[in-house]
Structure formats: structure tokens, C-alpha cells
């Protein structure tokens, strides 16, 4: 039976991050299509008392088996110096078909390095497409990873089952596709192999805001739909690259758009473009949004959206 491995990043209090939960849910969905086992790897420091709660949480989100590293790895960067030997050992042990990283630090610091070290295929910021048909030849496959390039023109597709080697990817989660799993989960703890004792993290400082759980990203100051779509994609790529957010929806609101339009792009599932009308900014009902402009001195602010109706003109 094939194995799927999911790297679980933990935040404050040792709780898995939202991006990790979404990646795990995506892996669960894939595993049901393939009949594979899902291994959740928790390499960061965890108190013994938290192990049970963590395993129950991960089991409920789709893990068949939870692997917890004890003692936990240091959170210092270079991350691969600390976590690389562990990941490579796990790859040898589990031989996963697919190694999934959530959007975030690990996806940028660890995933490409692991792929290069074990000579795996690599596709970042991908979305899962199960039981799809791949144009143009119409050849069917059970599992595709797809990714839209930042320039909005290239679409990359990777057939996981046809690849002759392991595939490492970072998955863009989707809240609407969280797969409920059972709570029947096995938990293993293991000690990490020795890491390279060279890296020293000196100090860190919090950024101004943390928008990891953001539902919508709204971008303004574009003048046409093509530019709008490109701005959304580029911004989303950059933000994901920085691990800043993992939104389930991206909405571009163009106050200077000459037409009412929106586009649907397979970047993180869906990207919308719409236009506000009148003098009032129109924000999606009930959503926490970030208002982002392309002005050089603009700064992102967290907005509590007002329940307003969005007006659309017939195209």
C-alpha cells in the first residue's frame, strides 16, 4: 500500500497550524482515492502532555498514523540542518508516494531541499486534482497536482502515479474540502538522527500581523481584468512564498476596473475578481479581509468586513 506523508507545523502551544490541517485534509482526500495510508509527521518540540491531544486532533483531520519526534527538533533555521536528517530517514523508512508540506516556512525551507536530496519530483503551491483527465491527449489519471505559474500563463501538471520517483509538494489547502477523518489513530514517537550542529538562531521579532487564517485577500488599484488577474496571482504567489497566508478565497476588488468581471483560476482552487460600486468599498459578507493596494506606501490592514451586498452588472 502506498504511503502519504504530511509534515505538520505546530504553532503556539504545540497546536498544528491551519495550513497543516488543510494539507492533511487534502492528503486524506487523496488517500481515499488511492487506498493509501496517511502519516502525519510532527517534528517540532511537543510537551508529552500534548501528544494525546495532538494525535486526536490529527486523527480527526485524516491521519492514520502520527509520528512525533521526541525530543522535538529545534525550530532554528537553517531548518534543513535540523530537520533534514530526520526527513531523509523517514523517507527511507516510509517510502511515501507523496510527501506533502503545508504552505509556510517548511514548504520553502525544507520541501525543495528534501526533494533535491532524495531526487524527488517537486511541485510547490499545488492543488490536488483527483480522477481528472489531462488535456490535450485525454489520458486519465487518478491523481494530478496542478499549479499555475506566477505569470498566470503557465500551468504545470504532475501525474503523481505515473512518476517513477517520490513526489514532494506543498499543497494549497481549501477550507471547503476538509475531509473528516476518524479518531482511531496510531501514535509513534521516535528520536531524531543527529543534525548538523552549526546553525544558530539569534533572535526573532514578530511581524506586524499574522494573517494565516485569512479568508479573503483583496487587492485594489488595477485597471483591467487581465492586470487584475495577474496581480492576484503574483500577490498570492509572493505571499504564499513568504508563508504569510493560506486563504481559502482570493478576491480582487478593482475600483478602477472598467468592467464588472471576475475570473476563476485554479491557483488555490478559486480566485475571484469583482468591482466595487459607488463610494463605499464593498467587502465580502462576513469575511475577514486584508485590504491591499499596489501603492508604494500602502500597508496591509486587517479589516472586519461589513455585511454588504455585492452588486454585479450583467456582462
Amino acid at each position: 500500500m502506498a504511503n502519504l506523508a504530511v509534515y505538520i507545523e505546530t504553532g503556539d502551544g504545540g497546536k498544528p497550524t491551519q495550513a497543516s490541517i488543510r494539507a492533511l485534509a487534502q492528503a486524506r482526500r487523496v488517500s481515499e482515492a488511492l487506498g493509501a495510508s496517511v502519516y502525519a509527521l510532527v517534528p517540532s518540540a511537543t510537551e508529552a502532555a500534548d501528544v494525546e491531544g495532538l494525535s486526536v486532533r490529527l486523527g480527526a483531520c485524516g491521519a492514520d498514523r502520527v509520528l512525533i519526534c521526541s525530543p522535538g527538533l529545534p525550530g532554528a533555521v537553517p531548518l534543513y540542518d535540523a530537520a533534514g536528517p530526520l526527513l531523509e530517514a523517514l523517507v527511507k523508512m516510509l517510502r511515501p508516494r507523496l510527501f506533502v508540506f503545508p504552505i509556510g516556512d517548511a514548504a520553502v525551507q525544507l520541501a525543495p531541499m528534501l526533494a533535491a536530496r532524495v531526487l524527488a519530483e517537486f511541485l510547490p503551491n499545488a492543488c490536488v486534482d483527483t480522477a481528472a483527465t489531462q488535456p490535450p491527449d485525454g489520458e486519465a489519471s487518478a491523481l494530478w497536482l496542478r499549479r499555475l505559474h506566477a505569470d498566470g500563463r503557465w500551468q504545470q501538471s504532475l501525474d503523481v502515479l505515473a512518476a517513477d520517483r517520490m513526489v514532494v509538494c506543498s499543497l494549497v489547502g481549501d477550507l471547503s474540502q476538509q475531509a473528516p477523518g476518524g479518531s482511531d489513530v496510531e501514535v509513534d514517537t521516535f528520536s531524531s538522527p543527529p543534525s548538523r550542529p552549526t546553525a544558530v538562531q539569534t533572535r526573532s521579532q514578530p511581524r506586524g500581523f499574522d494573517v494565516t487564517d485569512l479568508e479573503c485577500l483583496i487587492i485594489d488599484d488595477v485597471t483591467d481584468v487581465t492586470e487584475a488577474a495577474e496581480a492576484v496571482i503574483t500577490s498570492a504567489e509572493a505571499l504564499r512564498l513568504w508563508g504569510l497566508l493560506c486563504p481559502s478565497r482570493l478576491v480582487l476588488m478593482g475600483s478602477q476596473l472598467s468592467e464588472m468581471a471576475w475570473v476563476l483560476l485554479p491557483l488555490n482552487g478559486r480566485v475571484g475578481v469583482c468591482q466595487r460600486s459607488g463610494n463605499k468599498p464593498r467587502t465580502p459578507p462576513g469575511a475577514h479581509v486584508v485590504w491591499k493596494t499596489n501603492a508604494p506606501d500602502a500597508s496591509a490592514q486587517l479589516w472586519q468586513a461589513r455585511p454588504v451586498r455585492m452588486g454585479f452588472k450583467a456582462s
Binding site: 533555521v77 526533494a115 510547490p124 505515473a162 546553525a199 508563508g243 478576491v251
Partner: protein
């Protein structure tokens, strides 16, 4: 100190940031290399003391690891203290290239680098992490992948000699292990077709993956 810049032929903003950071290191000897199917589009870009283009048509369809191995071969020849790249310098936007260079050389690797302050035996780098910024000490030699910044700038003209190599000059074979099979990996130049809706309900339904 010797710094080697690995740029993709398109030289995006992250690569320009890497070039700016390299130029900011006082007294650094900068060697600029570019690996791709075409020469780097920016001539005299990095203010480099030496400029090397590795150009081979096979790189346009090869696995990104091939470009990384070619770059690593040049890095071994030049023996720099630091290698700076853009965070996605493979031209395909995968982000594999910088890590693959580090993995091939077995050097330290840090991505999302926003600033560097080199010292005698290590570099202090500013890493833009998910919800924090971290100052990290990275021993030499290391590969640092830089994040794009708005004020990357164009840079002073380079006055060093520029030469062009091929994969064969580096004793690399594009038809070997680094062939990327189209059996499982495809790229197509086609933007997704927009779908139009006429109501908020249809908008949000479509955003949730339902047909409007």
C-alpha cells in the same frame, strides 16, 4: 570575501535583490553566473567582476536539477564563501534550483533571505519567516535564496569579462539522469478561461467550487 550570484536568464526581482545584497558587501569579489537555455537577458547587470553564462538549449526542457548541477559545478570551480540566488531562480518558478545547488554541494541552505551581514566565519542573515523575522547566523559556505524586494534596483555596470559555456564544457550530459519525462510532468501555456457570473450568490457559489 567571494560571492557567487546564480541568476536565471530572466533575472526576476528576487535575483535583482540578490545582486543588490551582493553589491552591498564591502570589498566582495562578485562572480555572476547564469544557467539556462538563453544568456541572461540583463547584460552588465550585477556589477560583477566575472560573468559566466552557461547556455544550452537542453536546459529549456530538462529537469531543474540539471541546471542546479551545472551551477554547482561552477560553484566548485569558483569556491565562493556565499552563493546568492533568487528564491525561484530556476525560471519555472518552482524554487527547486537554490535548494538543489545547496543539496548538490552539501552546503547550508536558507531561503527567504531579505538581508545579509557577512562576518569572518559566518553571515548574519535576516529571514522573512511566516509570522516573524529571524536573524540567523549561517556558517560559510552557504546558499542563500533571496526574496523579491521592491527596491532591488538595477545596479552598476559590470566591468568584468563575460564568457559563455555549454553543458559539455562542464562535462554534463543533458540526456542522462536529469531528463524530465513528459509522461508525468507537463507544462502548457494557456491561461484558465474566466467564468462570468451575474449575481453575488453565483459568485460565492463559484468560489466554493460549484457551477454558477
Amino acid at each position: 570575501m567571494k560571492i557567487l550570484l546564480c541568476l536565471e536568464p530572466e533575472a526576476g526581482r528576487a535575483s535583482q535583490t540578490a545582486a543588490r545584497l551582493a553589491r552591498g558587501v564591502a570589498g566582495a569579489q562578485i562572480v555572476w553566473i547564469s544557467v539556462g537555455a538563453q544568456p541572461c537577458r540583463l547584460s552588465a547587470f550585477a556589477g560583477a567582476h566575472e560573468q559566466i553564462d552557461v547556455v544550452d538549449p537542453a536546459l529549456s526542457t530538462a529537469h531543474p536539477m540539471l541546471a542546479a548541477v551545472a551551477a554547482a559545478t561552477l560553484v566548485r570551480r569558483e569556491a565562493p564563501d556565499l552563493v546568492l540566488t533568487g528564491v525561484r531562480s530556476d525560471g519555472r518558478g518552482l524554487g527547486l534550483f537554490p535548494a538543489a545547488v545547496a543539496a548538490t554541494l552539501n552546503w547550508h541552505f536558507v531561503a527567504q533571505v531579505a538581508d545579509i551581514a557577512p562576518a569572518a566565519t559566518l553571515a548574519e542573515v535576516l529571514v522573512e519567516a511566516a509570522s516573524s523575522r529571524a536573524e540567523v547566523k549561517v556558517p560559510y559556505p552557504a546558499v542563500l535564496a533571496c526574496v523579491p524586494q521592491a527596491d532591488a534596483g538595477g545596479g552598476a555596470p559590470g566591468d568584468g569579462p563575460r564568457k559563455q559555456l555549454t553543458l559539455a564544457d562542464l562535462e554534463l550530459d543533458s540526456k542522462g539522469a536529469w531528463r524530465r519525462s513528459t509522461d508525468w510532468f507537463t507544462e502548457r501555456v494557456q491561461a484558465p478561461k474566466p467564468t462570468m457570473v451575474r449575481s453575488p450568490a453565483a459568485f460565492w457559489a463559484a468560489m466554493d467550487g460549484k457551477k454558477p
